[in-house]
Amino acid sequence: MKSILEANEAAALRKALINGELPDERGRFGPFGGRYVPETLVPAFERLEEGVKKHLHSPEFQAEFQQELREWVGRPTALSRAPRLSERWGTEVWLKREDLAHTGAHKINNAIGQALLAKRLGAERVIAETGAGQHGVASAAACARVGLPCSVYMGVVDIERQAPNVDRMHRLGAEVLPVETGDKTLRAAINEAMREWVSDPAGIYYLLGSAVGAHPYPYLVRELQSVIGTEARQQMLDLAGSLPDVAFACVGGGSNAIGLFYALLADDVELIGVEAGGTGDGLGQNAATLATGTAGVLQGCYSLILQNDDGQVQETHSISAGLDYSGVGPEHALLQAVGRVTYVTASDDEALEALEELCETEGILTALETAHAYAAAKRWSQEHPGKRILICNSGRGDKDMPTLTKYAARTRTHAAA
């Protein structure tokens, strides 16, 4: 299976991407994507695919989904100018405020959409995985909203560093199942959720939290998250008077990024995805899948992954649980391969500094995941003074207090220096 594209092939795929023609019938974004799942789940995936085809763009489903986004999620979320940050950076900065969505991150757009779908498909219960806990909280809330029981798999490493969200999930009526296997973070939680799904493929709905996994998830999640970019694009035209020169989003699995980028693909806007650079360039020190990964199959799809020469998936490191993942959505792999989106990294330290700067200048405590996007945008600003920047503020940082408290002493020294 190949991952390098000929020039003419890349040009054709770039056009197909921009025209919204991907994924194809087999769930492929060019060479990437597909459906690599145990045989037991094949009928479940076929049912899900049929369900998505039948409902997702039907007027009835859309009416219900849009109403929930408006009345329960609180959409449209604001577009904020960032005057003090702009002054510091020497660029004109705009923030798409997904932190203001119900439960505090973009994850809710996908969760409520899939919960409504699960209901229509007659699911008896919902399972989900979570890294940062934002998708777990969003799933718990959405399941309570539609009246379905919800179980959330979460690695024990993440349970510790995102403790506030574990408590929130419990209060919202979800069961949180600690995952002790594998890397004890997001990847292990997805494996565990898949194993559970195999035990009851007909009764369980798996509410996957990012634009990853087997077809149709990358497509389904993109469609549900594309509201971010659709709103932001119009708000930029209305409030700023034009589209931005560049748009930034952090990339874990890639759902807030594809949600922002999808509506901007055809525009003359530079798009930059920001991965976790962790503590360094070595294998295991970061989660920079697009920047340093190679093509392979992980958790249902063919995409870029962090692996060794023997095809063993490698552990990752990031200060942010939501970016701490060895894979990435297949559509991002293609967007990079055809040159439409550039992917860069920001380190743990840069993210911490950016988080602090945003607090000081704009009074916004952003999520550690999101802070990576700010760090990269700040660097870019130094080279492009006067330009107009849009950043997806994917979530709020309350959940990160255990980590931030641990680093507080060090960052304060930074600020004093």
Binding site: M1, R26, G34, R35, Y36, V37, P38, E39, T40, V42, P43, A44, T181, G182, R187, N191, M194, R195, V198, S199, D200, P201, A202, G296, V297, L298, Q299, G300, I305, Q307, D309, D310, G311, Q312, V313, Q314
Partner: protein, 255 residues
């Protein structure tokens, strides 16, 4: 005889002797890589076909036992290449057909053409790839078929009738009937309606049907053997190896 045909022949031969074909599974190099070849030799004395597990970091269709064995084997340096090298070092010694069970990614990293060639050179007759549905299997199947190596298809109690026919037709070596709706290593026993399910699988298959997942005892094998040509014993054998017990003694009391 093509390599994949030797798999079918070995199961058929057991049947001709009035036995249920015994297909032991173990994770390569677990618990100790240094013991791999001795374990393989011991198992090959009793089994009709041997299934060697290639460890993978993300075994999403496997329960705790095989997960544990995979992680330890990886930590101790077991790779696909290492397994091939080990087999090469005793080439011709193992008299029963060898099948590899591997998730797709290690095979992809090895390269499908190279994989087929090395399999042919080392006596590996077939592959079971638990995260590769038939629809995605074109490239690897083509590469393996060039060398007469089989890609064994799995069916499950959740497989619809039409799909069952397709998978039965496309399988090579044997048809793998997963007994339960679940992952490997379950200890909740075999399902009550197992007989009807295995009969319906055997009915559509021209290849011998081997049942696997959750088969742990001589009694399980008797039950399965009435409705399928062979039985695959995985987690139970891995647990025996884990305890340092003799695999041949365990397997003999299953036969």
């Amino acid at each position: 005889m093509q390599p994949h045909e030797s798999i079918s022949a070995a199961i058929e031969a057991a049947k001709a002797e009035g036995r249920t074909g015994l297909v032991p599974f173990f994770t390569a190099g677990y618990p100790e890589p240094a013991e791999f070849l001795n374990t393989l030799r011991a198992i090959a004395e009793v089994g009709d076909v041997v299934e060697i597990g290639v460890p993978f970091s993300d075994p999403m269709a496997d329960g705790m036992t095989i997960q544990r064995s995979s992680f330890v084997a990886i930590q101790k340096g077991v790779t696909l290449k290492w397994i091939f090298d080990q087999l090469e070092s005793i080439k011709g010694e193992i008299k029963i057909p060898i099948v590899f069970m591997s998730y797709l990614n290690p095979l992809l990293a090895f390269g499908f053409e190279a994989l087929a060639q090395r399999a042919l050179d080392t006596g590996v007759c077939g592959f079971i790839v638990p995260d590769l549905p038939f629809e995605e299997s074109g490239e690897i199947r083509h590469a393996l078929e060039q060398k007469g190596i089989g890609l064994i298809q799995l069916v499950t109690p959740a497989t619809p009738a039409e799909r069952l026919k397709l998978l039965a037709r496309e399988s090579r070596g044997f048809l793998y009937a997963v007994t339960i709706t679940g992952i490997t290593g379950g200890d909740s026993g075999l399902p009550a309606d197992l007989a009807g399910y295995l009969d319906s699988v055997s009915e559509v298959s021209t290849l011998p049907v081997c049942a696997g997942f959750g088969i742990r005892s001589a009694e399980d094998i008797v039950n399965v053997g009435k409705h399928a040509a062979g039985a695959i014993v995985g987690s139970a054998l891995v647990e025996v190896l884990e305890q340092g017990a003799d695999p041949a003694i365990f397997l003999r009391q299953l036969r």
